[in-house]
Symmetry: C2
Subunit: 551 residues, 2 copies
């Protein structure tokens, strides 16, 4: 089809595209692949980068005429020429309007982006540097009043690119280094470099997941990755389904909607009033998103029935239904455990669930946001959510429209969350994720072993942690040896918040705390930061002791 060249427009001052037939790149790239793999890949990369007929022609002829190492070297040199070099640029008189698509904006654009990258690379470097602080804490009113030329207010007139660059630096300066080896606060921690590269690329590609038409590669990556995840869950059927959503809470909402649709499809058209009163059973320790979903979807939070758990947070299994729910509830945070041959037995039974929420943006260290809802049954998401919007999902397209996945979602536009995850999987392999997860669990065990028998600490739950959560109280000198009483409990309740506040002021590390039921405020350590080592665990313990010794 369409092998004739587009007609040139006399009215248009812009150059018309040459006739780049889809096969052009392929055939030349094929020639390139005839070389050794490494050189071949490089030439291929070069062909893709230049995407210009002249350059391609030049390389192909040089390859055809003399396939000597000399000509390949020349090719590598020309690749180098296409690299960008930073030059000194005065940004004080440049504005957003001077950047692309502005005419002659190319050089400024490249220099501006390189300057931004420089700021980001410095930040990345410092993120992993233990001699820097985790955060430089300021109260909201301090930041709102304006810090040294960092003004958060928006104005009617543009600011110079120089000021924009300062704003970028300031934003990072007053933020929190979540990738710092000593950042243990919930939830996403760590800064995966491959994931970062993936996210930079995703934002540069700036497309939308609703149709294959505008996101062909990303749509396929999503399908392949979801299939792999279903295999890992242990579903034996080949044709389950799933979708990436903006987070675990939304994924959980999907799973409840899918279950409701399966048993009461008429809810979709007739609403909750048309069916018998429905209730949701869930663990008393389940994530609060189940309640949120209960409220949103029209069940009502009173109809979210909490099932009692044992001391370890496991549902006391009254019946199979409860077990299935158990598997469901654990998986958002713990999904990563499935990647570990050593630890996946802790999620035994998950393969009996009909839907699983799995958040790679938690323990697997994928950059936020990256959450998947996986369902065993094909067609259920489509059936539940599709509305067949004519302007997006035309049935008469030239390609297989089953790849237009948008109508499975409750969203319309949908961010590309798959690429960074896919790229990380490529770069680490399944074994890489496995090692990463095993390491987190080892560190959790290390922390537990280190503090369990010390008088300065008390564990919140009995026994070794099954996951990377380690919950403990720090007992300041003034409370040691004091028998349990309301007074001691009240005092202990105030310890963790005080230490946390001091910790944030000094900016050396961060860890979360919370009360739970009748348990007063305790530290809740969640280890998922791949940058953390045993020495960072040591540091955290010492820091808590240092900050808490006067309490």
């Amino acid at each position: 089809m369409a092998s004739s060249a587009p007609s040139s427009s006399n009215a248009a001052p812009d150059p018309t595209p040459p006739n780049l037939r889809p096969t052009t790149y392929d055939s030349w790239c094929g020639v390139a692949h005839g070389c050794t793999r490494k050189i071949g890949l490089k030439i291929c990369g070069f062909l893709q980068r230049t995407n210009s007929l002249e350059d391609k022609g030049r390389i192909v002829s040089s390859l055809k005429e003399r396939q000597s190492s000399k000509s390949l070297l020349a090719c590598e040199n020309s690749e180098k020429e296409s690299r960008f070099r930073r030059t000194e640029t005065d940004f004080s008189n440049l504005y957003a309007r001077d950047l692309l698509p502005s005419k002659n904006g190319e050089e400024q654009t490249m220099q501006f982006l390189l300057e931004v990258v420089d700021i980001l690379l410095n930040y990345v470097k410092k993120t992993f540097d233990r001699s820097t602080k985790v955060l430089d804490f300021h109260h909201p009113h301090q930041l709102l009043e304006g810090m040294e030329g960092f003004n958060l207010e928006l104005s009617d007139n543009p600011e110079s690119l120089e000021q924009i660059l300062v704003d970028c630096r300031d934003t990072l300066k007053y933020g929190v280094r979540t990738g710092h080896p000593r950042f243990f606060n919930q939830l996403s921690t760590g800064l995966d470099i491959i994931g970062l590269a993936g996210e930079w690329l995703t934002s540069t590609a700036n497309t939308n997941m609703f149709t294959y038409e505008i996101a062909p590669v990303f749509v396929l990556m999503e399908q392949i990755t979801l299939r792999k995840m279903r295999e890992i869950i242990g579903w034996s059927n080949k044709d389950g389904d799933g979708i990436f959503s903006p987070g675990g809470a939304i994924s959980n909402m999907y799973s409840i909607m899918a279950a409701r649709y399966k048993y009461f499809p008429e809810v979709k058209t007739k609403g909750m009033a048309a069916v018998p009163k429905l209730v949701l059973f869930t663990s008393e320790h389940s994530h609060y998103s189940i309640k949120k979903a209960g409220a949103a979807l029209g069940f009502g939070t009173d109809n979210v029935i909490l099932i009692k758990c044992n001391e370890r947070g496991k549902i006391i299994p009254a019946d199979l239904e409860a077990k299935i729910l158990e598997a469901k509830e654990k998986a958002a945070w713990g999904g990563g455990l499935l990647m570990s041959r050593k630890h996946r037995h802790k999620l035994n039974g998950i393969e009996r669930a009909n839907s699983v929420t799995w958040n790679p943006h938690k323990m697997m260290g994928v950059l936020l946001q990256c959450s998947a809802i996986l369902v065993r049954e094909k067609g259920i998401l489509q059936g539940c959510n599709q509305m067949c919007a004519g302007y997006l999902f035309q049935p008469d397209k030239q390609y297989d429209v089953s790849y237009d996945t948008g109508d499975k979602a409750i969203q319309c536009g949908r961010h590309v969350d798959i690429f960074k995850f896919w790229l990380m999987w490529k770069a680490k392999g399944t074994v890489g994720f496995e090692n990463q997860i095993n390491k987190c669990l080892e560190l959790a065990e290390y922390l537990y072993t280190k503090i369990k028998n010390r008088e300065e600490f008390e564990m919140v739950f009995e026994g070794e942690p099954e996951h990377t959560n380690v919950c403990f109280w720090y007992i300041p000198p003034s409370l040691r040896g004091m028998p349990d009483s309301d007074e001691r409990r009240e005092k202990l309740h105030r310890v963790a918040p005080k230490i946390k506040a001091l910790m944030m002021e000094s900016g050396t590390t961060m860890v979360g705390y919370q009360p739970q039921g009748d348990k007063v405020n305790f530290f809740r350590m969640v280890i998922s930061n791949p940058a953390a080592t045993k020495s960072d665990i040591d540091f955290l313990i010492e820091e808590i002791e240092r900050l808490g010794q006067e309490l």
Copy 2:
């Protein structure tokens, strides 16, 4: 608080952080600000970048000793030294595990990221180059079979960083350049450079919007921006509310939930079964997300009542309620119109709505995802959605916890969507957005004027477009002059899909099509791409004629 230095750990092999008190930077930066603004900003930037006591001390002494232009120059030189330089790196034997946080991984990390940036900058450059194609179309099965070493399958073992870089190039190669000046497909088009920089920074900061604690700057930016947006809507009260959500569909869902909660707060606890039957009124042309929300929230799609519209897609106003809904329905896509003093009258009445969905990721050209739900009444989002998860929203923190905005959301983790938008606003100013939107509307008018009286085209709706949507049929030679009949309509129905398929094959431009009600497939041009000029509109028209002349 906490002015003493953290104690050093003997057990930890890593360096302990020096005592960087929050005031250190401030005071030195203050000195720097004493210089001329430009130099001052640079020094400030440098202080932030190095974040090291020694360097800071050095600069401050040089400033104090002799405030000559010579010493400032020296300072600028040392700033240059902190810049990253690309070197030739062989990535074929490097793997993800060799990057940070790996020991000695810093240099490889910087070089790898610079290589990625090079790929991205080349892509950005080509995106705006009209001599390149918009896409290089392949069918799903072609991409799945594997293209020239681009294998989408995931494996157990890691791939080299060289392969990862090739994967990055290939992903872009086989994707769609949504920022290309001739990409007119729905929905997000254009690639805003400031927004891109903002998104790169956002992913590098990799944090989560649920608490002030881990996203202090972003939380404040969100509040300031939402307030500004409410002012622009025209709400006179100061204390409305709002939140950024993953997209317009979710924002619309929020608005329905908020309205339901306001009038029937018991739905939150008791569910839809406990209240009288509720129905949703909406325009017959409203976005399909209203139906999706109706299904999800337990109303049922049968209870989404569509109100008839006139030929221009406006609700025939039966009453005030309908008018309010009208304003609501339009705003997600059209929110940007509010930024234009020339066009905002088209949304007159919007200030009477109780909630507005406004998607900066549409006409304002902010990178996906960026959508806000704004509500007139403070506290309604909190009341509707809060579940008070103890592990996140501790009431006993040391700062003003009203800045912990997470419990307003139906999500738990929430991506930072604000920064790129805030940065674009800074860089363009309100007037910059205004110009951008005016330009889109001018182009829509240009297209309309150009084709309205030509025999090759037929407009779908009467009259000038009020927005950037221009809907038209291309009439191929074989159908010109043929009177309206079922046969003609059937033939015309097949024209747009055929042209679109040919267009995608040749990769020269992209535009959407759809049927609507009794109207057969027509082209639906939505102009929101700031890179597009009149010449690109000319090109599109000529391209449609070229591809359709044989039909």
